[in-house]
Symmetry: C4
């Protein structure tokens, strides 16, 4: 089932430790198939070195296991909520506790856009979402985490394709993209930008974000109608 997607999601999962974003099993990647409304996700608590395309788990949009012998990631309901809301545009999701970005999440601060490294992929700040309430945490915690993301983006009028990731307060990172490898890529971008943003503020405590027209230029030269970065 979903052989090709399994291969892709396997690679996206392996990219996380390769890029130094996860320690032990502290991360997971999934990929969504809009035709079947199913997604493939890492099993819970399984070491990356024991991961194979075939031991990934297939789930439906309610987070039920459709294929697989192992329990899916405990964060599965968060992935499901994101695909339910944005599955027409977003077909890959990644969760990590990567060190620098998680430090911003723990600090409860959005990462300001201080330069083109961030603007090449994020059209502005990387937002830190609101805290979950006690009721949300004691209820359907992982699904509520997804709701906080989707509702927050709607309230702030943010397009998930132009802001492909966010921080979960006191927790960690979610990123996404048009496929799981792009979601993993954006998780790397977030980590690099998080690290540089702290150092930027330490070098110059009065620093201001990059001017909007520079953000426009860089985001557009990669993602706009007349994009000219890369080979197509």
């Amino acid at each position: 089932m979903l052989e090709k997607l399994r291969e892709e999601v396997y690679k996206a999962n392996i990219a996380l430790p390769t890029h130094g974003l996860v320690v032990f099993t502290w991360g997971n990647a999934s990929g969504f198939d809009p035709d079947s409304d199913l997604f493939v996700i890492k099993p819970s608590g399984v070491a990356y070195e024991e991961l194979t395309p075939s031991n990934l788990v297939v789930c439906d949009l309610d987070g039920n296991v459709v294929e697989g012998d192992l329990n899916p990631s405990s964060d599965t309901p968060t992935h499901a909520v994101l695909y339910k809301a944005w599955g027409d545009r977003i077909q890959g999701v990644v969760h990590t506790h990567s060190s620098w970005a998680t430090s911003w999440a723990q600090a409860g601060k959005s990462i300001p856009c201080y330069g083109t490294t961030q603007a090449d992929y994020f059209y502005g700040d990387i937002p830190c979402m609101r805290s979950l309430s006690q009721t949300e945490i004691e209820g359907a915690y992982e699904a509520e985490t997804g709701n906080v993301i989707v509702d927050g983006f709607a309230e702030k009028n943010l397009n998930p394709l132009s802001i492909p990731g966010c921080l979960i307060r006191n927790h960690g990172v979610f990123s996404w993209g048009t496929n799981s490898n792009e979601a993993a890529y954006h998780a790397v971008v977030m980590e690099e930008c998080a690290k540089m943003a702290l150092h930027t503020e330490q070098i110059n405590p009065d620093v201001k974000p990059a001017p909007q027209f520079l953000i426009d230029k860089h985001y557009e030269r990669k993602h706009g109608k007349n994009a000219y970065y890369g080979q197509k």
Copy 2:
């Protein structure tokens, strides 16, 4: 003697440089066998690349060598005190000078619980124990280090299974677990959380610890009666 435990403790020792927690010989792991009241520990000052399961040293709970040609770790009496007090629950102990956690120990500060990365393994702050007195240091120094841990946990009414590690003021890190590999795992958790905690405070000097109900949720989903993380 204790062949299987030797294998396990060997792996736990090797995990320390593999995870970047030790430089040269600045760390050691041990594992306890509650049936014989003996533990297996790294020999003192031996390079990790020269370590084998068979050159580990077997000691009794008074720290006497029962089997082995080499001197056991100079920290052996600390391990012995921990097993004497908690050996019914704790069967692995690790000591390191890992960089970020040791910086907190040198600063004399407990590591606040700023997020779920810590709450997944530590049910609250990672405590920095009180300084040893001059008399304790000039006396049975390494045993007194163990006493400071055991007495400190008793005074603060902390359960060593839910707070599986602590900082030794001006010195370094001790961690533990139900076996030596879990103790090494907790040493990695401490190092990651120590690093993120400093950066969290640098990003937001007014930051508060994570709310207790979030700590409850994460600790319980991994370790509680109804735990649902992982494969069992």
Copy 3:
């Protein structure tokens, strides 16, 4: 065409990820042939592991492709401007978003010369150039980036051979040298000095730059008429 230069520029490009200066495709190196007024540059958005000497792109000083099937780096016009102005002395150019140096660029601060590590290669501060105007960014952006460098060096009366690199505000790093490998080397120097400069200021907020006579001594013993460092 330019077989030997292709080999050299290939190696300079590969040196960037090897030294930890680039993530994904966030960097590029080029080399200039003053006889033909052509330069060889990395193709845009191509992964370093897919790079070969033969898929590099040959461009003229107006940034037109003279040989190659791939699009050249989107930063090609910046390289072209630098060779046009300084091609008699500068035959290698490198661009990166290396983490520490880019943090200084984002902070809008020149890197003070705090010691001999910097003075061995940079005869003074590593300058952060002025911001590009909105008009410049919305116009021939990449060429204007080159103009800001060349004009800035002229205004400050800086010799590009003795200050072989600079920071682009809110963006990243350009470095150069008598060939592309030297340009890559200088990019490494900038990253190391950027990291140490922040830590130096954190250790001592009142620190002053190194005295001019120490800078003179170190720069001269490597690059002066009576240089005595190295084997010739």
Copy 4:
């Protein structure tokens, strides 16, 4: 000539990049033979991967080349001064620009002894020596660097065996030991302690050095008459 010493010094030099203390050729190690009053040292500006035991250079205590086709390290006169003064006790010297320790040197601050990691090898602070004067820098610069170390240790009444390294203001690190491998070991210790000391101060700006009796205990258990660390 001095075959065995060449082997040892070769290994000490290789240890420097292996432990992440040097970038490119920014470091060197030497070893002294007290019988012949000669020392073996790295050639100047030669890449570590091109180093062999046989291309090391043999010098006398005036820094003259006695054997070897290559120029010795430009820092050779500093090594010579140290052996001249302390060659009865010190038979290995290392120079690096390692990142964290050099940041302290650039900041002009001694590294306080905040814990046992430092006290295990340094009996107190790691001193930052006074700045060289303009006359010293413009004169026999490298020999004067050695004089600043030797004279500074005499003035402060420091024993080079119990404080096996120091910082050179606005420059970098010198360390030493009873042989070249021990000198390299102490360079690693300095880098680790420099990193932790900054983080310690960042975690707790009011931190005080470790109590003297703890420093005594740790230094003595490794180096004192009744030392009990290690295998003999």
